[in-house]
């Protein structure tokens, strides 16, 4: 059984310089309360690993604007001019990764695999910074597992065991991150009694969740 904590308590233990994986795709399925608490905490030199960096001044975008982020690993920053500016002016390290590779690198870590072998990026500038392996006569781009100190995930429903159920397009990177990060905080729309989520509806087992965020 988990003892739900507040978003403020959750981020209190995050040191400056920490790496944090954040679920969500733009505004959808994003752990907004955790992000806001991280913003309010003023923690610095953070590495954010996420599909995107949201919109300027909002959500992850607010963390970018506030200068709390030293490094971004993302697949798409087109919705946030601040992140693009940071990349162009080199005020921030921004690593752009193909979306399918990024989420599979996260899964590789969570599933104890040694990395990802993909065709994506072969023959492009992405391959210039990667290892290309020849296996059984075929070329594959190798991408290593991605680790993070913390993971912020959002779910539609959580139970007190920490089991998570998602809905519609809120899944995105959340299930992969829940398996991968060292310490995982789960923010849910609602917390329901144990048993209220059927075994078939749970997508993330509570045993990988470290802390549930209490209701607002």
């Amino acid at each position: 059984m988990k003892h739900p904590i507040s978003p403020e308590e959750a981020v209190a233990g995050i040191p400056d310089g920490a790496s944090i994986m954040i679920g969500g795709f733009l505004r959808c399925g994003r752990p907004q309360r955790l992000i806001e608490a991280l913003l309010a905490s003023g923690k610095k030199n953070l590495t954010i690993i996420s599909n995107d960096t949201g919109f300027a001044g909002e959500g992850i975008g607010a963390l970018i604007s506030s200068g709390q982020v030293a490094r971004v690993v993302a697949s798409h920053i087109g919705t946030n001019p601040d992140t693009q500016k940071g990349l162009i002016e080199k005020t921030m390290q921004v690593d752009l990764v193909p979306q399918g590779t990024l989420v599979e690198q996260i899964r590789a870590k969570g599933h104890g695999l040694g990395g990802v072998l993909t065709k994506t990026g072969l023959g492009t500038i992405v391959a210039d910074e990667a290892e290309v392996l020849t296996l059984n006569g075929e070329q594959w781009l190798y991408a290593p597992p991605l680790t993070a100190d913390f993971g912020f995930v959002y779910a539609d429903r959580a139970d007190m065991v920490g089991n998570l159920a998602y809905t519609l397009t809120e899944l995105n990177f959340n299930p992969a991150i829940a398996m991968a990060a060292d310490t995982v905080f789960a923010e849910a729309r609602v917390i329901v009694p144990v048993g209220a989520i059927t075994p078939d509806d749970v997508r993330t087992p509570g045993i990988v969740i470290d802390h549930l965020i209490a209701r607002a």
Partner: protein, 217 residues
């Protein structure tokens, strides 16, 4: 008007009951030209098989968005997918067609559509997976950008994938990349071959009379 030609012509390329991805921006508009009865399932790489039309006012749901972050709907028979399965479907060869916009396409059929180094750096998002792995790649774009040709001898921008795209559909022409080079297959209504050649920096292969696009629904 020119956009309408691209969308209408592209829609005719999509086969009934197939699985199709439409890129953010112009390609998204293709869906409006596809009858719901033909059984096409649209892939939304952020997490849905069976993307439907924009929801009517009042029916927007923040739990259901498209890859551009806009409110979306789901068709009957839709499925929620996480990003791992979403890209598993792309990389695994399950996607029949992806329709994407382009910044440049060159004589070898290579596409550049994700970055203008130092100027516009949105990131590749899902584009590299889509172009490298979809069974068929259609580039749907304006023929020129501010008057400058986008179909060029060799891409000067970083490539999206080391793969020849299958078809280029613009407001002026339909062009098929082949081993021999870019074959001009169709003209847009009222557009002459000379006008297309003029607006294209790459060499076009022109065989006999080039027919006009059939845009009937």
């Amino acid at each position: 008007m020119s956009k309408d030609i691209i969308l209408r012509r592209t829609a005719k390329e999509l086969e009934p009951d197939s699985f199709v991805n439409l890129g953010i921006g112009l390609p998204t508009g293709v869906a409006a030209y596809v009858s719901p009865e033909n059984g096409i399932f649209f892939h939304s790489e952020n997490g849905l098989v069976g993307l439907g039309a924009k929801p009517a006012p009042g029916l927007e749901d923040p739990s259901l968005t498209d890859a551009g972050g806009g409110f979306a709907s789901a068709v009957p028979g839709a499925m929620s997918i996480d990003s791992n399965l979403s890209f598993g479907l792309v990389r695994g060869g399950h996607l029949a067609v992806t329709v994407l916009g382009g910044l440049q396409v060159d004589e070898t059929g290579r596409l550049a559509n994700w970055i203008v180094p130092g100027k516009m750096v949105p990131g590749m998002g899902g584009a590299m997976d889509l172009v490298a792995c979809a069974n068929r790649v259609i580039v749907a774009m304006q023929h020129t950008a501010k008057g400058a040709p986008k179909i060029v001898p060799k891409c000067t921008l970083p490539l999206t994938a080391d793969r020849r795209v299958d078809l280029i559909i613009t407001d002026m022409a339909v062009i098929r990349p082949t081993d021999a080079g870019l074959v001009l297959e169709e003209r847009a209504p009222g557009v002459t071959v000379d006008q297309i050649v003029e607006a294209t920096a790459a060499t076009l292969i022109i065989k006999g009379v080039v027919p006009e696009m059939d845009l009937a629904a």
